[in-house]
């Protein structure tokens, strides 16, 4: 999954060095393929990746918990727990669709809002991700 963002830092900066005021905003975009590829990484907490899901080959979303704590993922219909080092796989997204998710670190007062969009691209389907990361 961590093809683009293997480290737990960005540009040599630790996660807390990226925070300005009460949070940070991260965006990323990739073209989905048959193998998982990272859309964006919230350092030390979560990797958001995408992978084409057969048979329709629409981009699915993979949330990987890279923290040492349980994450709660709220998609508006239900809330699911994701244990450390575990993944949550969400259904494929049609081109032009968008999805908003809430990720909360269970034992901390820290929350992340993820906005994910699937866009038609010349080379296939791209996934655009935006993370609003609140400070604890």
């Amino acid at each position: 999954v961590r093809q683009h963002h293997e480290r737990d830092d960005i540009g040599g900066l630790a996660p807390d060095q990226l925070v300005h005021g009460q949070g940070q905003v991260i965006i990323g975009q990739v073209v989905a393929s048959s193998l998982p590829v990272a859309v964006l990484t919230v350092p030390g907490i979560i990797v958001v990746a995408t992978q084409l899901v057969p048979p329709a080959n629409m981009p699915g979303i993979i949330l990987e918990n890279v923290s040492s704590e349980t994450l709660l993922v709220n998609d508006g219909a239900s809330t699911q727990s994701v244990e450390p080092d575990a993944r949550l796989v969400l259904a494929g997204m049609a081109d032009g669709s968008a999805r908003t998710l809430q990720v909360v670190i269970q034992d901390r007062s820290q929350a992340i809002t993820l906005m994910l969009s699937s866009l038609a691209a010349q080379s296939g389907h791209s996934v655009l991700g935006q993370a609003l990361v609140g400070s604890p």
Partner: protein
């Protein structure tokens, strides 16, 4: 508004929502019933925020007035063309029997150059002592 809500470990709440709005149009992004509603209008490089106080008391509002940085991951040239924005504000108001603080993050993005802006908001609402 189809706002997502999750309770935090310290009894606070986090609310999230994302809307698509026309450039210049005012759109409701976050609504905490009995506390506030936050509307956003994006026009060019400017963002207008309107907080409607629905609490029984006054509101104390703090806003730096300037954009915050956005971290780009991936093809930065493509992402810059989407003109990502990031704004923060904080306000305090009277919740049910106690003073609460709302910490808001607003992010904007124009994925396609069609006059539409994607506005995503998150607010953490927590009790505060004073």
């Amino acid at each position: 508004l189809s706002t997502l809500v999750t309770r935090l470990a310290d009894d606070g709440l986090v609310l999230s929502n994302s809307v698509t709005a026309f450039e210049g149009a005012r759109a409701a992004v976050l609504h905490a019933p009995g506390l506030f509603r936050l509307d956003v209008a994006v026009s060019g490089e400017s963002m207008r925020l309107v907080v409607r106080n629905m609490s029984p008391g006054p509101i104390a509002y703090a806003d730096r007035g300037y954009d915050q940085p956005v971290v780009l991951q991936g093809d930065t040239a493509t992402l810059r063309r989407m003109r990502p924005g990031h704004h923060q504000l904080t306000f305090r108001l009277l919740g049910p029997g106690r003073l609460v603080e709302a910490r808001v993050i607003i992010a904007t993005l124009r994925p396609v150059a069609d006059g539409l802006v994607r506005v995503t908001g998150q607010v953490m609402v927590m009790s505060c002592e004073s």
